[in-house]
């Protein structure tokens, strides 16, 4: 897995849209507010890694979609997505999730999937919800 750093490499998809991406993640998973910087970097590294196998077109569409999320609320709320409160951010994302245009719903589904991948795909994220798999299976349960 490629580890993100503060000085982003140029191939990073998230670097130019990091603030809005983090705002989306916190709206999708409110517990993400508790993440410290190393955990945010781990989350973003998982997302960047997942995006590496996708086409440049899809990666570009994701950046465009995040930029649209940042600026579209200006029309309704007079503020960008990152400047909105939690309730208004949820309303914006709910609008995309239930949008009559299938392509927009799919775009949001993809973004939501990446946010969930980054959060719950981290061992810490899985551990925090009580997921404790053990390759020893029943034997491990009996030892607990």
């Amino acid at each position: 897995m490629r580890v993100a750093t503060a000085n982003e490499p140029s191939r990073s998809v998230l670097a130019p849209v990091r603030a809005v991406f983090r705002a989306v993640v916190v709206t999708v998973v409110p517990d993400a507010k508790q993440l410290d910087e190393p955990n945010w970097l781990a989350l973003e590294a998982l997302v960047e890694d997942a995006l590496e196998i996708r086409t440049p077109t899809l990666r570009g569409q994701l950046q465009l979609f995040l930029r649209a999320i940042e600026w579209l609320p200006v029309v309704r709320y007079g503020r960008t997505f990152t400047a909105l409160g939690a309730e208004q951010r949820s309303r914006v994302l709910r609008h995309l999730q239930d949008h009559p245009v299938e392509l927009i719903r799919c775009g949001f589904w993809g973004l939501r999937t990446l946010a969930l991948l980054g959060y719950y795909g981290r061992p810490d994220g899985a551990h925090a919800i009580g997921y404790r798999p053990d390759s020893r299976g029943w034997e491990a349960v009996q030892r607990r």
């Binding site: 897995m1 709206t27 999708v28 998973v29 409110p30 517990d31 998982l46 890694d49 997942a50 196998i53 949820s90 994302l93 999730q97 239930d98 299938e102 392509l103 927009i104 719903r105 799919c106 949001f108 589904w109 993809g110 939501r112 999937t113 946010a115 969930l116 991948l117 959060y119 719950y120 795909g121 061992p123 994220g125 899985a126 919800i129 009580g130 997921y131 404790r132 798999p133 053990d134 390759s135 020893r136 299976g137 029943w138 034997e139 491990a140 349960v141």
Partner: protein
Amino acid sequence: MKRRSYDIVIIGSGAGGGTVAQELSSLCRDGVRIAVLEKGPKLRDEEFTGREVEMAKALYEDDGGFLTAEQTMTLAFGSAYGGSTVVYTGTSLLPPERVLERWNVPGLKFADVEQRARKYVAENNVHLLDESLLNENNRLFVEGCRRLDYRVQQFPVNLKGCRGSSLCNLGCPNQAKQGTNRVQLPRAERNGVEVVTRCDVLRIENKKIFARVSEKPEGNKGEPSTWEAGDYQIDAKVVVVCAGAVNSPALLLRSGFGRSLPRLGRGFTCHPAFIMVAEHSQPITNAVGHPKSFYVDQFAESDHFLLETCMYFPFITAKALVGFGEEHSRFMRAFPRLQMILVLACDEVNDHNRVTVDGDGRPVVHYRFTPEVIHGLVQGAITSAKISFAAGAVRAHVPVSNSPTIECADRERLDQIAENPDFKPGKISISAAHLQGGCAMGGGPEDSVTDSYGRVHGIPWLHVADSSLFPNSLEINPYLTIMALADRVAESIRKNVNALL
């Protein structure tokens, strides 16, 4: 370009390719040279860590997130030594007679397929798990079904020494699952078949295979290929394509066979599925024990759905829940108390749903949900929620409802959901792992791609042996049927070996 030459080349090493490799391997004694070309890597036993993202990346095509052209469904299929048999749960059902009769393939008799399937029941140690090894996630499903008078059945599974890690879909860390990676391929190799991993077949041209072998990427799992990285031309007298229902038709299409085979890529079905999650008030054993021990198929004919027990991992579960925010997180925080049921729709062959290739020859799967599939998923979700409530769940997540969280006290609402379901493609997470069709068996090129022995119409040296042979949905977990059909293909090659070679 490097050159290699074999008598028989098998492309793919899953349920189809692994079986063909074993069944032809006796020919090696007579000097027949056989190779299996597998796109994925071969992992060492200690590399099966059970970590969700890491293993999905190592074992699945597109990390398990292969998207359809419409971007409304993901397809999960293996890309490794053993193909998808590395990442299934080992459920091994005999082919249903009613389905094979309906397929109506000239020359294909149910009794023959069943007899061959039974051979692999014995060979791969298929049996019912002892009751003491069943976890509460499975027991609650049985309990709920029995209270509702549903006909619940236990899955036969192909396990040997299962410790109950619950990690089957990430590759068994205890090597208990008897997929082709554990049984058929090692036996084939012992008999002299050569298996080449990290070998991506680009196209086939008149008994010539063009393939690319990749270096092992730094930090990735698996052994390096036994062949040096680079482009290869492999001459073969017989080619057996076993790359699965997405990659087999795609390979043949980009090789130009579509010109004489108009049905190539057509007839793709996949059992579109989602996870229904319900919360209990107390922790249950769910992340330990075999995850998929029971099923209900009584609604397959009437309402187009199947139900299976399941237990998925945090990211997959989070993805399966619709919505986001606090309501979504509440279910996730209840992970040790979650009961899970997989709802699978029984889809039928449809004109739109097919495999094509893009300008670079990559597979593109076109799939739209028919009204029958939507009906199946909606009814399946409602039925699953009823089962969970009957088993004592306090709330359920019903992804086809406008308000997906249904409290037990409001369970009367469930039947109203069917009147006005919230089924928006792109909103709801649907995935499929039973990929079928694309190189269907049949009578001739006007209605199919191969005959009932997997021989491609008009091309005697080219065979297909995987789930792409299915002319319509099998309506059950497909692995034993794939192995039975692959056994037929291998037998046909063996019988005609003198003419073919």
